[in-house]
C-alpha cells in the first residue's frame, strides 16, 4: 500500500513517455476530417488504413528503412569498435598526449555541424563517396565518435584497475586481462554506446540530405520529409503512418539489446 504513490508516479511517467507514440498511432488511423476537429479524439471514430496505403504507395519506405538500418548498424558497430580500445587508452594511460587528445575531442564537439558541411562534402566528393552509403557511414561514425569516446571512457574508469592487477598476478597478459576481465565488465557501456550511435545514425537528417542525392540511396529521414510542405504545413496522416513505421526498427533494436543494460556488475569486486 505504501508503494501506491510510487506505482502511480511510474504509470504517469510511462504514459508521459508513451504519449507521442500513441498519438502518432491515433493520427495515423484518422481521416482528414477527424484530424481537423476542434475537440481531438483519442480513438479514431472511423479508423482508416488509407494513410498507410498512401504513405507506402507514394514512397519507397521499405527500401529507405532497409538502407537506414544498414547505415545505422554499420555506423554503431564501427563506432564501438573504434571507441572501445581508444577509450581504454584514454582512461588508463595518463600522458600529455592523452590530455591533448581528450581536449581535442571536446573542442570538436563545439563546432556547429553546419560550418563544416561544405568542406566535408568536398572531401567526400574527392573520395567518390558522395551518393553512397559508405560515405554516410563514414560521416556518422566521425560525428558520433567523440561523444562515444567520452561515454565509454567513463565506463572504463569505473572498472577498478585492481581487477587487472589481480589478473596480472594470476599470470594474465595485458591483452588477456582486457579481453577476459575488462571487456565483459564494460558490456553495459558498450550497449549504451551502441544504442546511442544507432539512434543518432537512424535519425540523422542533415548530412544525409547533403550527401545522398540519388533517389535509389535515400534513407528514411529523407523520405519522411517528403510529406511536408513549406512553412511547416504537412500531410499529417501519411506522415504519421510513415513515422510510426520508422519507429518500429529502433524499438525492436532497443528491445533486443536493452537486456544487456545491467548495472551492478562490479558490486563487491574490490574490497573496501
Amino acid at each position: 500500500m505504501r508503494r501506491l504513490p510510487q506505482y502511480a508516479a511510474l504509470v504517469a511517467y510511462i504514459v508521459f513517455l508513451a504519449f507521442p507514440l500513441l498519438w502518432l498511432l491515433s493520427t495515423a488511423l484518422k481521416t482528414p476530417q477527424e484530424m481537423a476537429l476542434t475537440e481531438p479524439t483519442w480513438i479514431p471514430r472511423e479508423p482508416t488504413l488509407a494513410n498507410f496505403t498512401d504513405a507506402f504507395g507514394e514512397q519507397d519506405l521499405v527500401g529507405a528503412a532497409l538502407r537506414s538500418l544498414i547505415v545505422a548498424l554499420f555506423s554503431s558497430v564501427i563506432t564501438v569498435l573504434i571507441s572501445l580500445p581508444a577509450s581504454y587508452a584514454m582512461a588508463r594511460y595518463r600522458s600529455l598526449l592523452n590530455r591533448v587528445a581528450l581536449g581535442w575531442v571536446l573542442v570538436s564537439q563545439v563546432f556547429p555541424f553546419i560550418l563544416i558541411i561544405i568542406p566535408l562534402f568536398m572531401i567526400l566528393r574527392e573520395m567518390d563517396l558522395v551518393n553512397t552509403l559508405p560515405g554516410l557511414v563514414a560521416v556518422h561514425v566521425t560525428f558520433t565518435l567523440p561523444f562515444a569516446l567520452w561515454m565509454l571512457q567513463g565506463y572504463v574508469r569505473a572498472v577498478p584497475p585492481e581487477l587487472e592487477e589481480a589478473a596480472a598476478v594470476d599470470g594474465a597478459s595485458r591483452l588477456r586481462s582486457i579481453v577476459s576481465v575488462v571487456a565483459p565488465l564494460l558490456a553495459p557501456g558498450v550497449v549504451a554506446t551502441l544504442l546511442f550511435a544507432f539512434i543518432s545514425s537512424w535519425n540523422e537528417f542533415m548530412f544525409a540530405l547533403v550527401i545522398l542525392q540519388n533517389p535509389d540511396v535515400m534513407t528514411l529521414p529523407l523520405t519522411l520529409v517528403r510529406f511536408t510542405g513549406p512553412e511547416g504545413v504537412a500531410r499529417l496522416g501519411p506522415l504519421a503512418a510513415a513515422s510510426l513505421m520508422a519507429t518500429i526498427p529502433s524499438l525492436i533494436f532497443f528491445a533486443i539489446i536493452q537486456r544487456r543494460l545491467k548495472s551492478g556488475l562490479m558490486a563487491g569486486a574490490v574490497k573496501g
Partner: protein, 433 residues
C-alpha cells in the same frame, strides 16, 4: 568462427550492394542517352502524381534525354542547394521559388535563360511573372534565372451559411469587396460567439506586405542604387485596417492571431468565424477536411485603391554547371507547356502563369472556387520585397516581431513605422556596403 566470418563477409557484401546506383558526376558516352536530374519540391499527393506522370511521359517520348525525378523538400532545399552548388553536384533542373533565386543568381550558380527560352514558352507567360525571376546575375546585367510557373494569390475563404445569413453583397471577381465593405461585412457577421473574420498572424510579413499593394504600399524604396525601408500612409493602411478589425470593430477572432495559416481551420469548420483570408492553396485542405454538409465559397481578395497583390513564383531553373543545359531547357519547355501547367496547378491548388493553362476548363470551373482563384491572377504583380537584398534578415529580425507586437496591440502604428524603418535600414545597410 566460420559462421561469424561468413556473417561479416555477408554484411560487407550487403553494404557494398546497398551502395549501388550512386556515384556523382555521371557522364554519358556518345551512344548513351543524356541524363538529367530534376529536383522537384512537389509534396501534395496530386501534385507528386502529376510530376511523376509528366516525367514518365517525357522519358517515354525522349529515349535520348532521360530525366531522373528527385523529390526534395521546401524546408531544406536551400541548405541542400548551397552545398551542392559549392560541391559541383547540383541537379540540372531545379524547382524553387523566386525569392531564393536572387542570391543563387548573384553567386553565379544559375544559368541565365534569356537566350534559351523558346518563343512559345516566353509568350505564354505574362511579363509580370517573368519580372519575378529577372535578377542581376552579379555582373551588373539583368538575366532571367528561372521559368515561373505557379503563383499564389490571397483570397477569402468563406462559410457559405454565415455569409448568406449576414445578407451582405457577395463579392465577385469583377466586383470584389472594398476594404470598407469587407470590414462592414465582418462586423455584421460578428454575433455571439461567432466572429466575422480570422487573421492567423504567426508569420505576418509576407501576407501583409502582399496585401499592402492594395493601397500602393511597397515598404521599400530605391534611390541612387540604395534601398531603404519606408512606412508612409500607403504602407500603414492595410496594417491599420486589420488592427481595427481586431481591436476597434472586434470582428476578428483573437484566438487565431498567434496561429499559422492552416491552424484556424478546425474553428472555421465549427463556425467560430465566417471569413478566412488565405492563400489560394488553402482551398485544398478545406476541400479535403471540411466535415460533411459544411458549405464554403471562395471570395476574391479585397480592393483598396487597386486590387493589386504582391506575388512570388515557383520556378524551374537550370544549374550553371549543368552539362546538358539545352536538353534541360527542352524538358522545362515540355514540363511547363499550357496543358501540363494546368495539371501541376491543379495538383498544388495554385495559379498557373501560363495563359493557355489559365484558360483550361479545370482552371475556370466553379468547383472549389477555381474560377475566383484563377481570375485573381490578373492582380498579381512582383512582390515589392522580392529584389531587396537583406529582405530575409529584415523579415525575421525586424518585421516579424514588430508586426506580431502590433497585432497583439502592444505597440502603436507609429512605433511600428519607426522600428521598421530605423532597425530595418540598419539591416539593409549591411547588405549594400
Amino acid at each position: 568462427m566460420r559462421i561469424k566470418s561468413a556473417l561479416a563477409v555477408a554484411a560487407v557484401a550487403a553494404l557494398t550492394a546497398a551502395c549501388g546506383g550512386g556515384g556523382g558526376g555521371e557522364t554519358s558516352s556518345p551512344n548513351e542517352p543524356v541524363k538529367i536530374d530534376f529536383l522537384s519540391l512537389a509534396w501534395q499527393k496530386e501534385s507528386v502524381a502529376a510530376n511523376k506522370q509528366l516525367v514518365e511521359e517525357w522519358n517515354k517520348a525522349n529515349p535520348n534525354i532521360q530525366v531522373t525525378y528527385v523529390q526534395g523538400s521546401w524546408d531544406n532545399v536551400n541548405d541542400q542547394l548551397v552545398t551542392q552548388f559549392a560541391g559541383g553536384t547540383a541537379p540540372d533542373v531545379i524547382h524553387n521559388d523566386s525569392p531564393a533565386l536572387a542570391g543563387f543568381a548573384t553567386d553565379g550558380y544559375l544559368l541565365d535563360l534569356s537566350d534559351k527560352l523558346p518563343a512559345e514558352l516566353k509568350n505564354d507567360i505574362p511579363q509580370a511573372a517573368w519580372d519575378t525571376v529577372t535578377f542581376d546575375g552579379g555582373k551588373g546585367e539583368q538575366g532571367v534565372y528561372g521559368v515561373p510557373f505557379l503563383q499564389e494569390s490571397q483570397v477569402i475563404i468563406a462559410n457559405k451559411k454565415l455569409l448568406e445569413a449576414a445578407e451582405v453583397r457577395v463579392p465577385t471577381a469583377d466586383a470584389p469587396w472594398t476594404w470598407d465593405e469587407f470590414s462592414a461585412a465582418a462586423k455584421k457577421m460578428t454575433k455571439g460567439d461567432t466572429y466575422g473574420v480570422a487573421w492567423p498572424m504567426k508569420s505576418p510579413v509576407n501576407k501583409t506586405l502582399n496585401l499592402a499593394l492594395n493601397f500602393g504600399g511597397t515598404f521599400f524604396q530605391t534611390a541612387g542604387g540604395k534601398t531603404t525601408v519606408k512606412v508612409g500612409p500607403e504602407e500603414r493602411e492595410v496594417l491599420q485596417r486589420i488592427h481595427d478589425q481586431l481591436y476597434k470593430d472586434k470582428s476578428a477572432d483573437p484566438a487565431a492571431l498567434g496561429q499559422g495559416t492552416a491552424d484556424p481551420l478546425p474553428a472555421f469548420y465549427k463556425g467560430k468565424f465566417a471569413l478566412l483570408p488565405a492563400g489560394v492553396y488553402l482551398r485544398q485542405q478545406v476541400a479535403e477536411q471540411a466535415p460533411d454538409g459544411f458549405e464554403w465559397v471562395t471570395l476574391p481578395g479585397p480592393k483598396g485603391t487597386t486590387t493589386q497583390q504582391g506575388a512570388v513564383s515557383q520556378t524551374l531553373s537550370i544549374a550553371q554547371e549543368s552539362e546538358h543545359p539545352d536538353e534541360a531547357m527542352k524538358f522545362i519547355s515540355f514540363f511547363l507547356n499550357g496543358p501540363n501547367q494546368a495539371k501541376l496547378a491543379k495538383g498544388d491548388w495554385l495559379l498557373p502563369t501560363s495563359q493557355k493553362a489559365a484558360a483550361d476548363p479545370a482552371m475556370t470551373s466553379e468547383e472549389n472556387g477555381w474560377d475566383v482563384a484563377t481570375a485573381s491572377a490578373k492582380d498579381l504583380v512582383v512582390a515589392p520585397f522580392l529584389k531587396v537584398n537583406g529582405f530575409d534578415e529584415w523579415k525575421s529580425k525586424v518585421a516579424t516581431p514588430v508586426l506580431q507586437e502590433y497585432f497583439a496591440n502592444k505597440i502603436t502604428i507609429d512605433e511600428v513605422a519607426k522600428r521598421l524603418v530605423e532597425d530595418g535600414n540598419k539591416v539593409l545597410e549591411r547588405y549594400q556596403r
